[in-house]
């Protein structure tokens, strides 16, 4: 992608689902910010891309996954989902394996995304 989106808040998601609560807490922050009328973008780096895989299930003891939250993003007008291309290819994941539609970023576009948002929360 060549157009780096501008926005109020960039939420960086670097942890996968189930192993810890960072992903859920980061998505919570993004949804709340959007509910407050901020223009929010998400940037998935490293293990964070695992959040987007199809076919995820409940965790141990029926722990909810993050897919229900991802489905809410559209309702909250969070439409910019930037995904580190290298994090996908390192794991052999194709864009078709993802459950939402995303924009791939790499190289300077990642730093650009940080520069173009007024505030950043890193999870």
């Amino acid at each position: 992608m060549n157009d780096i989106p501008e926005g109020d808040l960039l939420v960086i998601l670097r942890h996968g689902p189930h192993g810890n609560s960072w992903l859920r807490e980061g998505l919570d922050a993004a949804l709340v910010a959007a509910a407050f009328g901020q223009r929010v973008s998400l940037l998935f780096l490293g293990e964070g891309v695992m959040a987007l895989l199809k076919d995820q299930q409940e965790g141990p003891l029926g722990q909810k996954g993050t897919q229900p939250m991802l489905e809410m993003l559209g309702m909250y007008d969070i439409e910019t989902l930037l995904v580190d291309r290298r994090a996908l290819s390192e794991r052999g994941i194709e864009v078709d394996d993802l459950c939402v539609s995303v924009s791939l970023v790499e190289g300077e576009a990642i730093a650009g995304a940080l520069a173009h948002h007024r505030q950043i929360l890193n999870f």
Partner: protein, 130 residues
């Protein structure tokens, strides 16, 4: 066999508690005796009696309690790790001049020496960390 678990991850923050409870069920299902769970490091937060997770999420505190009620599993909390993190039973609260308590039976505050004893006296000790 006689199993013990060492849980070092806080509830809801890390999968460690969930993994330990899932493993506990499987240990019991295979006919073993799950004699003891020892909570150390942030694992001590599993005993926080006021924990109030959303109703559609697993209630870890209740799950630990059921383990004790149904199978007699001892739930031991390291006292040094607990005091630093605000987990006091009524006796420790009184001893430190605090009103109220944050930990209660079936969880028990015990010294770290109990972990060493558990390692010695059980056939298997499996650790779940954050």
């Amino acid at each position: 066999m006689r199993y013990a678990l060492l849980v070092q991850g806080g509830p809801y923050s890390h999968q460690a508690s969930h993994s330990a409870l899932r493993f506990a069920e499987a240990v019991l299902a295979r006919g073993h005796h799950l004699a003891t769970v020892f909570f150390y490091h942030d694992g001590v937060y599993n005993a926080a009696r006021l924990s109030a997770p959303p109703q559609d999420e697993p209630h870890l505190l209740d799950a630990w309690r059921r383990l004790h009620e149904d199978h007699g599993t001892e739930l031991l909390v390291c006292i040094a790790a607990g005091l630093r993190r605000g987990l006091l039973d009524e006796r420790e609260a009184a001893r430190h001049g605090k009103q109220g308590h944050s930990l209660e039976a079936p969880f028990e505050l015990t010294g770290l020496g109990q972990l060493i004893e558990v390692g010695r006296s059980h056939d298997r000790l499996v650790t779940f960390s954050p």
